[in-house]
């Protein structure tokens, strides 16, 4: 997969349109969802995904095949996402309920066949999502890259321009903060 991506990138650098199309098709959904989670706005996510691939196209000649392609892609994506959030270029973020109603961000299991479990998971998810939103942006990005995009510590470090130790630390502190927030209102329920 990684080799294929690197191969496609070198073909993109030679100006092959088909190779670029293949790269977009392969990574478009993941990139779109990465931005969607970050901005919580479908239009922003769409714009940023487009900008990301245009930037990738322009950077194709500078790409060196030795590096992980996904680290390379998400390095651009993380920088774009961060600068987008920093500049406050955001359109209104959808409320958690609106996102859930539009089918976004709800754990997909059990929803249709078990309405009660679905309601319960919606409530838990709402709290998880709120905790996630309260994290410092780099922690949120690190967690997103690790959990949803399944990048390794090394890839996240390369994508975020940090050391592996600092990535490990960000992930731990993010989880610690989330556990505090989830645990705070869950205290009475016990461990069952």
């Amino acid at each position: 997969m990684v080799d294929d991506d690197a191969d496609l990138m070198s073909r993109v650098a030679r100006g092959e349109k088909d190779a670029f199309r293949a790269l977009v098709v392969r990574h478009e959904k993941a990139a779109y969802n990465f931005f969607l989670r970050l901005t919580k706005n479908p239009e922003d996510a769409e714009d940023l995904t487009q900008e990301l691939f245009v930037a990738l196209f322009r950077a194709a000649r500078r790409y060196r095949a030795g590096a992980s392609f996904r680290a390379y892609l998400y390095r651009i994506a993380a920088n774009m996402g961060l600068s987008h959030l920093r500049k406050g270029r955001l359109r209104a973020a959808l409320s958690i309920d609106a996102m859930i109603d539009s089918g976004f961000d709800v754990p997909s299991r059990r929803r249709e066949d078990d309405p009660a479990a679905s309601f319960d998971s919606r409530e838990t998810w709402r709290r998880y999502e709120a905790a996630l939103s309260s994290l410092p942006r780099p922690w949120r990005i690190a967690l997103e890259l690790r959990v949803a995009r399944e990048l390794s510590y090394e890839e996240i470090a390369a994508a975020m321009g940090k050391s592996v130790a600092s990535v490990e630390s960000m992930l731990f502190r993010a989880r610690e903060r989330i556990a505090d927030e989830l645990g705070g209102s869950d205290e009475g329920k016990g461990d069952a």
Binding site: G15, K17, F20, R21, V24, V25, E28, K29, A30, Y32, N33, L36, P42, A45, E46, T49, Q50, F53, V54, F57, R58, G103, F104, D105, V106, P107, S108, R109, S121, T124, W125, Y128, A131, L132, L143, R146, V147, A148, Y153, E168, L171, F172, R175, E176, I178, A179, L182, G183, D186, D191
Partner: protein, 150 residues
């Protein structure tokens, strides 16, 4: 403080980044620490929610609009590249052309002049010069002067 060290290990375990010695140490701590077990449980549930969260398909218009945007950039890039290349190239071409044309003009002028000079040098008598030409005047004055002296 001790617990924080183990929670850090729990976080690493969730990422599959823990070695077996640390894992053994963690297991033995978890057996005796309820708070860390609770942290693990909350972190695990967060992880599983995050991982199973539904991913939306991007709108179908996204792929064509990306390809179109890149095509526009490529054209822009071509124009930019072309201008960057074309301006010095056109300047160089103009200089070369100028030198060449200048060369042609000079060559035709020089050969004409040379031709005229040769013609002039081959003329020996007054009546061979066109009347009014410099050579005619020169010959007339020298011939006439001779006549007058004679």
């Amino acid at each position: 403080m001790e617990c924080r060290k183990f929670r850090r290990m729990i976080s690493r375990r969730l990422d599959g980044a823990i070695d077996s010695a640390a894992l053994e140490e963690l297991e033995s701590h978890l057996a005796s620490c309820e708070k860390c077990r609770r942290f693990e449980k909350l972190s695990l549930s967060g992880l599983s929610m995050h991982r199973t969260a539904r991913e939306l398909d991007p709108p179908p218009s996204l792929l064509p609009s990306i390809l179109e945007a890149v095509e526009a950039r490529r054209r822009e890039g071509w124009v930019g590249e072309w201008l960057r290349f074309a301006v010095p190239a056109a300047t160089a071409a103009a200089v070369v052309l100028g030198v060449w044309i200048g060369g042609l003009i000079r060559e035709s002028y020089v050969s004409k002049v040379t031709q005229n000079q040769t013609d002039v040098l081959e003329l020996k008598y007054l009546d061979e010069y066109p009347p009014g030409s410099f050579g005619y005047i020169l010959m007339a004055s020298s011939e006439g002067g001779g006549d007058g002296q004679e």
